[in-house]
């Protein structure tokens, strides 16, 4: 009996093994790491209930699967899939299949057949939908296999008749993503079920379920995105969908209509209920405009956004969008805008004090009034008055885009934009100010409009005021009263918010240079000169007076008759301001004076080519005279550096480039100086001095290379290599110096090791660039690498020393654009003599306001440093929200820094400065180096403390006078 049992067990066992073998052979299972799939298999077999199995699957899904074992896992999952009765487990398996086929490097065509087969017998709708999703993933993973795609599309078409919306949804999604796009493919597959995907999708525009309708439209849009030209016939279908009951359908339909209007702008469509015909883009425009007053705000936002990009629309349709006929008791009324315009043109200022100056005028023919326009009428009027600010912002944006392309529309929409300056939500106000700025080339402000615009100058929000200043910089004003009004309001602003000083001056500078002829008649009044009497000389430090002068001097630049109106002190003030605020005051040709500006004039005249040439020539010179004697090279370098620095000062566009190269040359110069043979051969007692020089040079080179790498925007990988190379040289120098100064070999071992590691990592990172570095330090070093690795530190040092001296100087290729990151602290000004008093132990908030230029990712890199007199330094990370972005490449930091200290006996100055934090790890990641290699080499580098490796100061420090008082008891 026992023997029999044993036999049976044995038999069974062998049987099982055999089956597995069969499996292996028939399905050609590639031998995989058995652990993963086998473990899963065992788990699933162990599972007694569906809940257990689900749990196992969930656990399994948490861990990633290696590429090699994906197929095996899929097989096992499929096996269980067929066995499983519980729908939820099957669902999970189906979703796992999708996840697995997403694995990078795995080609899912081998499992496609199985996945399709599973569809056949599936009853549960949810599982079906999930399986289709998996197929979608598989299909997207195989982008260049049309036959597979066709097959999948066919499968999807078959399931389009399913009764569950989820399944139909997925089918449509699949067809949208995988359906054939090229005509040829479609024809070839004519015999099969999938003929015309557009037709199939179009049929589901009338599905009973709104979700399916949405999916159908989305699929259509997907096809469009993939490059299929949609048929025009869809247009009428899509128009019907605009009246759908469900917002997501309407929202998608609006998009579809927009797409079609861009595809067939010029085709002609009939207007229903009349014999007329119009262009399709106009019709679509009208329809989308209609949707701006839809019941759902999601649709309204969508519609308003899309309106902006319909630039082919005819102008009279466009202008209708701003149209709204007012009436009161059936009599025509003029809008406030029309009244304002009329008052203006009749030369009368708006009294606004008459009751009933808006009294209705003529009777209206009742038949002629159209209360609900099917067309574009008043779309923007509605959009701008919407209750949701999202819609209003979208409408403003659309207005902006349309106005940019149509000057006449810009003129018309001005009134509405000006109205938006009074919106209750700041974002909307800001957006409309920006919009206005963007279209300001096309418009001239009327006085009443200017009045409204200027009223906003009193806004307490700094952003709004500054946006408005920017707007005024590029506005055209029509009259001298307008200029006067603007000046008065700006001065009012200045007294109310003195911190706006800079921005206001800048604004007046542009206002003056744009309207010299309008400023001219105002000059006597502005300078309060009198034909007979001398007037008192105004205070030169008064910001308001400076503001007036900025306006006048800038106007005088292109108006030579103006200086004749100046009084004596004005000329004196001019000279002073020209020096102190040279960026605001232009050079003037003053009568009886030599042109003050002649020395500086190159900075204004843009001779781009000569200076660029000069830059290149001087570089060339340096590179070509490599074999000069060391003295000569040194001198040449020194001259070139000086030249470049001067060039940078003169040519603001080339400043970045010039500084960058100058820094590089400086590094080279330092290196050469440090390596001078004379120094190295001196007697031992003189080592000390020489060592100090060399180690200082090495340190400085390191610093400079970090600056070069992180302070300039536009540095490409070609430059990064050179910089890293320079750094490597500096490190080598450091090693040599240390070797000469330290006694004993022990510490040297570690240093050599570290250095060699660095060389190694350099090679790994910049392997592609190495061919360009013939004869360089690293090139030679790599040749000697096998020897270096085995030799003693002292030998290494010797080799290094020799190589350093022999290596050639690498060319620094210049990128197209290079800008140096700069920061300027506007506030605190550092001029105050009144100490900031606060009780010790408590904190005081210091407002810091700075402009940053050419800083990439300021939120992550810019830090504020506070240095106390006791040497204590504090690093402050400003909040990301403290950075504003007023223009490309420019940032503004407005933040508060909290200071605190123990009590002092006297007030003393602290230093505030901005730092640029860098992290070589981060920058390297951005130069597309595989991270994994770097995480290893990272250990060799100084440990980064919370992502910051080091900091570079990049602004002038500002001194703040503070006084922590002892707390009173």
């Amino acid at each position: 009996m026992a023997a029999h049992l044993k036999k049976r067990v044995y038999e069974e066992f062998t049987k099982v093994v055999q089956q597995q073998h069969e499996d292996l052979s028939t399905k050609k299972l590639r031998l995989t790491k058995p652990s993963k799939s086998a473990a899963l298999h065992v788990d699933l077999c162990k599972a007694t209930s569906p809940a257990d199995a689900l749990q196992y699957l969930l656990q399994f899904a948490r861990k990633p699967v290696e590429v090699e074992s994906v197929e095996g896992v899929v097989r096992i999952l499929l096996e269980h899939y067929y066995k499983e009765n519980d729908a939820s487990v099957r669902l999970k398996i189906a979703s796992l299949l999708g996840l697995l086929s997403k694995t990078a490097g795995f080609s899912p065509d081998c499992i496609m057949d199985d996945a399709i087969n599973t569809l056949q017998n599936e009853k549960s709708h949810q599982v079906l939908a999930q399986l289709l999703d998996t197929l979608l993933v598989i299909g997207t993973k195989l982008p260049d296999n049309p036959s597979v795609r066709m097959r999948l599309v066919e499968v999807a078409c078959k399931h389009l008749t399913d009764s569950s919306h989820g399944v139909r949804n997925k089918c449509l999604q699949l067809i949208g993503c995988l359906g054939p796009v090229e005509k040829g493919v479609a024809k070839e597959a004519e015999s099969q079920a999938a003929k015309d995907v557009q037709k199939i999708i179009g049929d589901h525009f009338n599905d009973q379920d709104p979700r399916v309708r949405t999916a159908a439209i989305k699929a259509m849009l997907q096809l469009h995105e993939r490059g299929l030209k949609l048929q025009q016939a869809i247009y009428s279908q899509a128009c019907k969908l605009l009246a759908d009951d469900y917002e997501q359908v309407r929202s998608a339909a609006v998009q579809l209509i927009w797409v079609l209007s861009q595809l067939y702008p010029e085709s002609i469509v009939p207007i229903p209920s009349s014999n007329e015909e119009i262009r399709l883009v106009d019709d679509a425009f009208g329809k989308i405009c209609h949707m701006v007053s839809d019941g759902s705000w999601v649709v309204r936002v969508q519609a308003a956004k899309l309106l902006g990009s319909m630039q082919q629309v005819s102008s009279h349709f466009l202008e209708q969008t701003l149209d709204k006929k007012l009436m009161s008791d059936l009599r025509r009324k003029r809008t406030a805008h029309e009244r304002a315009k009329e008052l203006y043109s009749s030369g009368e200022f708006s009294s606004g004090r008459k009751w009933g100056d808006d009294a209705p005028k003529e009777e209206i023919d009742t038949g002629a009034v159209n209360l609900i326009e099917s067309g574009a009428c008043g779309a923007f009027v509605h959009g701008l008055e919407d209750e949701m600010y999202e819609v209003r912002i979208a409408a403003v944006e659309a207005l902006c885009m349309l106005a940019q392309s149509s000057p006449s529309f810009a003129e018309k929409c001005l009134d509405f934009l000006v109205d938006m300056f009074n919106d209750e939500i700041e974002e909307v106000r800001l957006q409309s100010i920006h919009t206005m700025r963007k279209i300001s080339n096309n418009i001239t402000l009327r006085e009443d409009q200017l009045d409204t615009v200027l009223a906003v100058l009193e806004d307490s929000s700094r952003d709004i005021r500054e946006a408005l200043h920017e707007l005024l910089c590029c506005t055209n004003v029509s009259t001298k009263e307008g200029i006067h009004l603007a000046l008065v309001e700006l001065l009012k602003n200045l007294t109310k918010y003195p911190t706006d000083r800079e921005s206001i001056w800048k604004c007046l500078k542009f206002l003056g240079s744009r309207h010299p002829t309008l400023v001219l008649p105002l000059v006597p009044e502005l300078l309060s000169t009198h034909p007979f009497f001398d007037t008192p000389e105004p205070d030169m430090d008064d910001p308001a007076y400076i503001a007036v002068l900025v306006l006048i001097f800038n106007a005088a630049k292109s108006c030579p008759t103006m200086p004749a109106l100046f009084s004596d002190h004005t000329f004196r003030h001019y000279a002073y301001l020209r020096d102190s605020l040279s960026h605001l005051v232009p050079p003037l040709r003053l009568p009886g004076r030599k042109l003050v500006s002649s020395a500086v004039s190159p900075s204004i005249t843009p001779h781009e080519d000569p200076s660029q040439q000069f830059l290149h020539q001087s570089l060339e010179r340096v590179y070509s005279f490599q074999h000069l004697d060391p003295r000569g090279i040194q001198e040449l370098l020194e001259f070139t550096i000086r030249d470049l620095q001067r060039l940078g000062e003169l040519q603001s566009e080339l400043a970045g480039m010039a500084d960058f190269t100058a820094t590089y040359l400086q590094c080279q110069l330092l290196l050469i100086k440090a390596l001078q043979e004379k120094l190295w051969n001196v007697a031992a007692p003189l080592y000390l001095k020489q060592n100090a020089l060399a180690s200082a040079a090495a340190k400085q080179i390191l610093e400079e290379t970090y600056k070069m790498e992180f302070m300039y925007s536009g540095v490409e990988s070609r430059q990064v290599v050179i910089i890293h190379h320079m750094r490597l040289q500096a490190k080598a120098l450091q090693l040599i110096v240390t070797a000469r100064t330290t006694r004993g070999v022990e510490p040297l071992f570690g240093m050599c090791e570290k250095f060699l590691q660095e060389v190694d990592s350099f090679q790994r990172c910049f392997i592609s660039e190495l061919p360009h570095m013939q004869g360089s330090f690293v090139d030679k070093l790599l040749d000697l690498m096998p020897r270096l690795v085995t030799s003693k530190p002292s030998e290494v040092v010797k080799i290094l020393q020799a190589t350093l001296r022999q290596s050639t100087f690498l060319h620094l290729p210049l990128p197209e654009q290079l800008h140096r990151a700069t920061a300027n602290i506007i506030e605190p000004t550092g001029e105050s003599d009144n100490p900031l008093r606060f009780t010790s132990g408590l904190v005081v908030a210091l407002d810091v306001d700075a402009t940053l230029e050419h800083v990439q990712d300021p939120q992550g890199t810019v830090k504020v440093q506070v240095l106390y007199p006791d040497g204590q330094a504090q690093l402050i990370h400003p909040k990301p929200a403290d950075f504003r972005n007023p223009g490309p490449g420019r940032h503004r930091l407005i933040t508060q820094v909290y200071l605190s200290h123990t009590a002092w006996t006297e007030p003393c100055q602290i230093e505030v400065r901005l730092l640029l934090a860098y992290n070589s790890n981060r920058s390297k990641a951005s130069t597309r180096v595989p991270k994994s290699t770097w995480s290893e080499s990272l250990e060799a580098l100084p440990p980064p403390e919370n992502g910051i490796e080091g900091t570079i100061p990049f602004s002038k420090p500002v001194k703040v006078y503070i006084m922590p008082k002892p707390a009173r008891r």
Partner: protein
């Protein structure tokens, strides 16, 4: 007559028996002023529905109303404070979009209406027939309230107010800007601004407007609000944040906009303070009370300004100054010279013609009924509505009855077996299209059921009768009978591809269950008579077949 004549509703008999419920759309007195009279004096004990803010604010206004009429004017036969309290006990508060089942059949649902805090539109629904009553509503958002909104509820009837049936208004922003500019200029000049308002509604809008403007522009001049009624009401405005507009809802986490920073309570003594100030004072038409007192104090200075934000009834001081009178005769033969500036600014919270049309477009009603407006203006709007939406529009006068035809749907229960059987036949289900079904409608104790004929027979205990239609069709065919039959058979086979057409050995043809036999005509051998016979279940196919045969056989076929 002070109150509506409720006897119109029931000629005689109790109101409670006659009415299922009373709905109050919002707290304005022209919409709820007679409520205590109606419920306590006339006698109504049924439920009263209103929204939460209305329920909170309504008693304050009613009490104020009572105080003025009884205590000031000394009228009698008016409701008492206790009556207001008792009346409010009958009130059931509803939330927005909450469906309240009043009784088994009637259900009501509130929609947001703008206009004033807590104003609502109500959908009243019985079965699948529904009416939407709008009350007063506003389609343009203002500084404290959003816009009215209806979903596509497709009511059978939409009853809408039509106060501004013939007006299309300018953008609200222009008006607001004008208002703010005027106030700002006056305050900058050092003048005082008086704004006579009614305590609730517009007053809050203007307060928010000025408050935010002061905040934005960093202004320092004080703003005062005359105390009393407003303070209480303002408290409720703070509470019902969800009923306000997007801006207030979004920012109330930082600060409730109704917690005014710049607006303080007014004291009588403040009116004589030097320097600029803005004062909101009641009542709105300058006919009595605090606003008139302040007006008299300030009227003499041309630096000051009075802004009338609303309509003024003829004969009030407000109307006089608006129409340009500069010398006013006050009581006691005093002559008051008005030197201050007088401004008019309309802040109305009713939908204009465009707004009304927009609401109709949103709701897609089958009929529209206009109320709350002037007949002449309504006529215009009615014409427009009929023209644009192609729905019938009514504007009944007081006491007039309008009858509206509706197409009520009647729900019928269908047995699952029948449904499955019927859907299995024919093409795949296409849900958006109506579909023909065969079954028996059983109407039994107030319920409708659709069952299969067999089951109906069984349930009713009836025997089944067969009904057969027979029809003779004459065909000219000189051939023999069986040849004719063959021709007919081939013809039918060709035409009816989806049906089973059989040629039976006894010389007859069956198409499904329809029998066709051919005999020669007794007199004329050239004419064959086709006998077509079908049961009434196959009526459709049978009649099609006869019409097909009547057309004759195609010539060429053998």
């Amino acid at each position: 007559r002070r109150f509506p004549d409720f006897s119109y509703i029931t000629q005689n008999g109790r109101l409670t028996d006659f009415l299922d419920c009373v709905i109050i759309s919002h707290f304005h007195l022209d919409h709820c002023g007679a409520l205590p009279y109606f419920s306590e004096m006339v006698g109504y004990d049924g439920p009263i529905y209103m929204t939460h803010p209305t329920k909170a604010i309504c008693p304050i206004l009613l009490e104020d109303y009572r105080k003025i009429t009884v205590d000031k004017k000394g009228e009698t036969n008016f409701f008492t404070s206790q009556m207001i309290k008792d009346c409010m006990k009958k009130v059931v508060a509803v939330h927005l979009h909450q469906t309240v089942q009043v009784d088994e059949e009637l259900e009501i649902k509130a929609y947001y209406a703008g206009h004033v805090l807590g104003a609502a539109m109500f959908q009243i629904k019985v079965g699948c027939e529904s009416v939407v009553y709008t009350g007063d509503y506003n389609m343009t958002p203002d500084r404290h309230l959003g816009a009215a909104w209806l979903d596509k509820c497709r009511p059978d009837l939409l009853i809408t107010e039509s106060t501004y049936a013939t007006t299309i208004r300018d953008s609200k922003r222009c008006r607001e800007r004008d208002f703010l500019k005027k106030v700002h200029e006056t305050v900058e000049r050092g003048g005082k601004v008086l704004i006579p308002v009614f305590a609730l509604g517009r007053a809050q809008e203007l307060c928010i407007l000025l408050e935010t403007f002061w905040e934005r522009m960093n202004l320092k001049a004080p703003i005062y609000f005359s105390t009393g009624l407003t303070e209480k009401a303002n408290h409720y405005y703070k509470l019902f944040i969800t009923w306000t507009n997007q801006k207030i809802r979004k920012t109330f986490v930082q600060r409730n906009m109704f917690e005014f920073k710049h607006i303080k309570a007014f004291d009588r003594a403040f009116a004589d303070n030097p320097g600029p100030m803005v004062v909101f004072a009641t009542p709105g038409m300058l006919h009595a009370g605090q606003s008139l007192q302040i007006f008299r104090k300030w009227a003499g200075n041309e630096k000051n300004m009075v802004i009338m934000p609303g309509y003024c009834v003829q004969g009030t001081v407000g109307h006089k100054i608006l129409s340009g009178q500069r010398k006013l005769e006050m009581e006691g033969r005093q002559i008051l010279e008005v030197k201050m500036q007088v401004e008019y600014m309309s802040f109305s919270a009713h939908a204009d013609a465009k707004g009304i049309m927009q609401l109709i477009r949103q709701a897609e009603p089958r009929n529209v009924l206009l109320v709350h407006g002037e007949a002449k203006k309504m006529e215009f709007l009615k014409q427009k509505i009929e023209q644009e939406f192609h729905v019938s529009c009514f504007m009944p006068a007081n006491g007039e009855t309008t009858t509206i035809l509706t197409n009520p749907c009647i729900p019928v229960d269908i047995s699952l077996g029948l449904l499955k059987r019927e859907t299995a036949i024919g093409a795949a289900p296409d849900a958006k299209r109506p579909r023909l079904m065969h079954g028996t409608l059983l109407m039994k104790d107030n319920s409708f059921r659709l069952v299969s004929p067999e089951q109906a027979l069984k349930e009713l205990g009836l025997a089944e009768h067969q009904l057969r239609f027979t029809c003779r069709v004459h065909i000219q065919d000189p051939r023999k009978e069986h040849e004719t039959v063959l021709r007919v058979y081939n013809h039918l086979k060709g035409v009816l591809k989806d049906y089973s057409v059989q040629h039976l050995p006894d010389g007859s043809i069956t198409v499904e269950s329809i029998l066709i036999q051919a005999t020669a005509h007794s007199e004329d051998q050239g004419t064959k008579v086709l006998l077509v016979s079908w049961t009434y279940q196959d009526e459709e196919l049978g009649s099609y077949l006869t019409s097909l045969l009547k057309k004759g056989l195609p010539q060429g076929t053998p």
